[in-house]
Amino acid sequence: MGTPPRRTLHVELEALQDEIVRLGGTVSAALERAVRSLKERDRTLAQAVIDADVEVNRAALEIEQRSLTLLATQQPMASDLRALGATLKLVTDLERIGDHAKGIARVALRLGDEPLIKPLIDVPRMAEVVREMVDRGLQAFMSRDQDAALAMAALDDEVDRLYRAVFDELLQIMIDRPGTITQATHLLMVATHLERAADHATNLAEWLLYVLTGERRELND
């Protein structure tokens, strides 16, 4: 056997996949750090999350650029084409998750040392589930595991349930104590960031299904 016909393309596709997984790991960690900075009132940590987002954006741009170069120079077909198309979309989803982490860190900065109107329980729980979704999504992506992707996407229901619980609770607090409205609104923004991040994580599963089957399926309705 000689050199496989499209080795350059496949080596580069694998390298891109590694970059995607690395970026996913970074934004997953950013989410955890952002929520921790809020819970522990750690402004230094919050600022670090905001500063690190520049690096996320840079990595995302580089993945985009490399994908476009591969399209132009290697003209991939079939599952290779789908993998590259999915990479271009996935990278945006990951970058957005990074933006949501940054948004949460901004809230942490803004609240400063102000005492919290309630202990944060469901919000960190939401963040944990979102992180689990991202991590499991990336694993499924690496192992091309359709069932794992579907199981991961199902976690979005749990995030939505927690979001509704946080929403109802914060609304009640605002009705009972109008003086809390400013902070409660900020905390609601945090929950919304997490809920949106979970939707982007669900997209990871959708794109993996596309790579595997060639069909686009909405998992998130």
Partner: protein
């Protein structure tokens, strides 16, 4: 879209060697159909079966049917000369006759009995226009066709095929001997011509098939493995062997 050609259970043998294995498919009218596959897969044999060019190869045996409109081209009584007029062929290397540009295009109509000079001039102009060559050669119709560039020669050959008013155009790697710009012109020409003709093109260039074909068939070892709309075949093929070929994991 209506089918211009229907192929049913076509097998072709060169002596002991089976080159095509019970191929069944249809060629749509006014559309481009590309045939792809590795060397020796049967795609050119398939193409040359459509106008019975393979009759010229000794020890060839054909089974099955090819219906052009509703007539089986292998049935007794079919006029093979007329069949090859109706199903025109363009080859890999441009093959103009060593005659003038005019005489190349007028050759077919003259053979088929057209002698009125004015009518011949009309046919030549119309054919050269359809082949997107008229503007480049209208002032030198009496010059030798062999003075044209490779890309122009290939368009001249297409004009020559169009001059006899074919029903179908077959092309066997029509751009593989051309530079990329000339090849691009031929591709654009094919895209224009499909408004009037069904075109079947054999190509080794997958990207070319992806660019110009509405339908694509993948041949392997004499078998038509998959035949589908081009968009689907190149993005989400159903057959693992097609997938392996398109992604270079074949062999």
């Amino acid at each position: 879209m209506a089918d211009k050609i229907r192929v049913r259970g076509l097998s072709v043998y060169y002596g002991e060697l089976q080159a095509l294995r019970r191929v069944t498919t249809s060629i749509a009218d006014r559309a481009v159909t590309a045939l792809i596959g590795p060397s020796g897969c049967g795609k050119t044999t398939f193409l040359r079966s459509l106008n019975r060019l393979i009759d010229l190869i000794p020890n060839t045996r054909v089974e099955g049917q090819i219906f052009l409109d509703d007539v089986d081209v292998y049935s007794p009584g079919v006029d093979v000369v007329d069949l090859r007029r109706r199903v025109g062929m363009v080859f890999q290397t441009p093959n103009p006759f060593p005659k003038s540009i005019f005489d190349n295009v007028a050759y077919g109509p003259r053979i088929h009995g057209l002698s009125n000079q004015r009518r011949l001039e009309e046919v030549v102009e119309q054919s050269l226009r359809r082949a997107a060559l008229w503007d480049e050669v209208k002032d030198k119709l009496r010059h030798s066709a062999l003075d044209l560039s490779g890309g122009q020669q290939q368009r001249l050959v297409i004009a020559r095929a169009l001059a006899v008013e074919p029903d179908v155009l077959l092309m066997d790697e029509p751009t593989s001997a051309l530079d990329p710009i000339s090849a691009g012109r031929i591709e654009e020409l094919i895209t224009e011509l499909k408004a009037e003709y069904p075109i079947v093109i054999v190509t080794h260039n997958m990207q070319q098939a992806a660019r110009i074909a509405d339908w694509t068939g993948f041949f392997l070892h004499g078998e038509l493995v998959e035949f589908a709309e081009t968009e689907r075949l190149f993005t989400a093929p159903k057959e693992p062997r097609t997938e392996a070929y398109l992604t270079g994991r074949y062999g």
